[in-house]
Amino acid sequence: MADLALIAATLTFFLLSIAYTTGCDRLGEKNSGGKK
């Protein structure tokens, strides 16, 4: 049970990190007026 909880927490952290990457990318696009 502890194993499952810790693995789920780890997966959540890395999913958050991917969302963070996407968020930073969107902020970059917004700052450059959508032009890349």
Binding site: D3, L6, S17, C24, D25, S32, K36
Partner: protein, 595 residues
């Protein structure tokens, strides 16, 4: 302090300086796929790796793809490490029949080695099997270091490329860092360590019969005392030299034995000690030359090197001076306490230090290992004088940009470069430029994100630990400011991905294992992402021709500004916490109180 001590410190630094250029140029050629002397050996192997793994060498990645691939790679390797730790009792290469690692400790260790931290909440020789040490921990020592180099190269490409959407290929950069740089260097280095007496075997632990049997009294959980006579001692063995080489070269720092590089089987001689310190700074120092060469501004690379060197010498001066003083509290046992030969403290504070290294090399090792994100120790930082212990903590708090971890030190330093040119631009009222690229609001936002996440994790977790007597404070062995230093150091070391410990804190508890694991993951990945965002942003920009208002980034003025920005950001962020920890402890020690 002695002239001999300073000679050894300067000799060590001269070695780093001499070797930085050839290795830096070699790495630039490797990562730009120019011909090197090693092509006949490594190029066929590299091609074979791509063919077997299906990697397209010519595929270029945007920063987001580079980041996500790195995250998925780290996640998979973390989970594999966790699984092997949890199953080690059923797996081979476990002659001591060590049990499976507990879930919270397994996660802490997996996060620790994936993030290049190598914080160890366990005693390696009684917890980890040979298979766990070799298959998972040594593996991470290579690939977390290779990942750091790859990320630094991606940032350098972001600076050097113009109007480009891509930063290179993560798999290719990882392969080149491992195959062309880390593996061959480690093969030679491990052999040199064996020549000094570092062990390398798969034997079960030796049993030695004690000349003088010892009586040991232990108190059980029920409060009953039992006394037993110990007649034998286990002497741990293992494949140490191969682990030790990448532990130092990759600025990992996780020891094969609990006492790390203070153990005579890990670091037997003064020469092996010199090799270990040199190997910590070798790649980070060389990467500044790689930077200069890849951005076609070698003087800029040397200006960054000079900033690192300035901060390094400042740190080692304070640490060596503090440790070369006698402890004033020993006045009680010696009225004429001094550091002179023949006195009660010859040379200074020898508590927690190995006699074969002495004070100069212990203070130097502590400075080097925390300037970089290594975390290996050859003496116990907890036993340093308060100001001596302050130096390792401050080194990590400055972001480990003083040479720093392999790759991580350089990209951390380049974030401060971005901030420095931004501040210089504000001073003269112009849009800041860095090597022909305009630094705009998005770049500064990402740089600030990078700078702010670090103290948020350190101070946030430390505050929570201090507020909870049953979880945070109960693990402490010392009260007062020293206790605060122990907690602050633990979270600083974890977030900074350093891994050294201030000891005195029993960190193998569910709270510390899980909170430190989170701090390590946040300190690694939440800082890499904004750094890669800056790299992606810089790569897309046009080059602006230099003008009279352009701030040159290769002059002593630039070096001074860069050092000033690093110190001011660090001081503003951490001075209040430090003043309640090691600084207060120093003042109370002068007043005759210890903790």
């Amino acid at each position: 302090m002695t002239a001999n001590g300073w000679f050894q410190i300067c000799f060590f630094f001269a070695l780093v300086l001499v070797c930085a250029k050839p290795l830096g140029v070699y790495m630039a050629r490797v990562f730009e796929r120019e011909r090197t002397f090693a092509d006949p050996f490594f190029r066929p192997i590299e091609r074979l790796i791509y063919r077997v793994t299906g990697i397209d060498e010519s595929h270029e990645m945007r920063w987001t793809e580079y980041s996500i691939v790195m995250l998925i790679f780290s996640l998979v390797t973390l989970l594999v490490t966790y699984a092997i730790e949890r199953l080690q009792h059923f797996l081979p290469l476990n002659p001591q029949h060590l049990a499976n690692v507990a879930p919270d400790l397994a996660l802490n260790t997996a996060a620790s080695f994936t993030t290049n931290t190598n914080w160890q909440s366990y005693v390696p020789e009684t917890t980890m099997s040979y298979l766990t040490q070799m298959l998972t921990l040594a593996y991470h020592n290579f690939f977390s270091a290779a990942s750091g180099i790859a990320l630094a190269i991606a940032l350098i490409r972001g600076i050097s490329r113009k109007e480009s959407k891509t930063l290179g290929n993560f798999w290719v950069d990882m392969t080149r860092a491992s195959l062309w740089v880390l593996l061959p260097t480690c093969l030679i280095y491990a052999t040199l360590l064996v020549s000094q007496g570092v062990v390398q075997n798969f034997r079960p632990y030796d049993q030695a019969t004690l000349v003088q049997p010892q009586s040991v009294t232990t108190t059980g959980a029920d409060g009953k005392s039992t006394t037993q006579v110990v007649t034998t001692q286990s002497i741990a063995q293992g494949p140490v030299a191969s682990q030790e080489a990448i532990k130092m070269l990759g600025t990992n720092g996780g020891g094969f034995f609990n006492t790390n590089s203070a153990h005579p089987f890990e670091n037997p001689t003064p020469l092996s000690n010199l090799m270990q310190m040199f190997s910590i700074f070798l790649i980070p120092g060389a990467l500044t030359v790689t930077l200069g060469r890849m951005v076609k501004a070698p003087a800029h690379g040397w200006a960054v090197f000079a900033a690192m060197a300035t901060l390094f010498f400042a740190g080692v001066l304070v640490a060596y001076h503090a440790e070369a003083q006698p402890n004033p509290l020993l006045h009680a046992v010696n009225q004429h306490v001094s550091a002179a030969p023949g006195s009660i403290q010859p040379g200074g504070n020898m508590e927690g230090k190995e006699v074969r290294f002495g004070i100069a090399n212990s203070a130097l090792f502590a400075t080097v290992t925390t300037d970089a994100s290594c975390g290996a120790v050859n003496g116990m930082h907890d036993s340093f004088m308060p100001l001596g212990g302050l130096v390792p903590m401050v080194n990590i708090m400055l972001g480990e940009v003083i040479f720093g971890g392999v790759g991580a030190g350089l990209y951390g330093m380049l974030i401060f470069v971005v901030l420095s040119v931004f501040i210089a631009g504000l001073m003269v009222g112009r849009t800041p430029e860095y090597l022909g690229k305009k630094i705009e609001s998005f770049d500064v936002k990402m740089a600030m994100l990078y700078v702010l996440i670090f103290p948020l994790s350190i101070l946030g977790f430390s505050a929570v630990a201090l507020m909870m007597p049953n979880l945070g404070l109960s693990a402490l062995a010392n009260a007062g400011p020293h206790g605060l230093s122990e907690i602050l150091y633990a979270y600083t070391s974890a977030t900074g991905n350093n891994g050294s410990a201030f000891a005195g804190i029993s960190a193998n508890t569910p709270w510390y294992n899980l909170s430190l694991a989170t701090a390590m993951l946040v300190g690694r990945f939440f800082m890499i992402i904004p750094m890669l965002a800056i790299a992606g942003s810089l790569a897309q920009k046009k080059l602006v021709p230099p003008s009279p208002g352009t701030f040159p980034v290769h002059t002593p003025l630039f070096t001074v500004l860069l050092v000033g920005v690093i110190l001011i950001v660090g001081a503003l962020t951490f001075f209040p916490a430090l003043s309640l920890g090691p600084i207060l402890e120093h003042l109370l020690m002068q007043a005759g109180k210890s903790f």
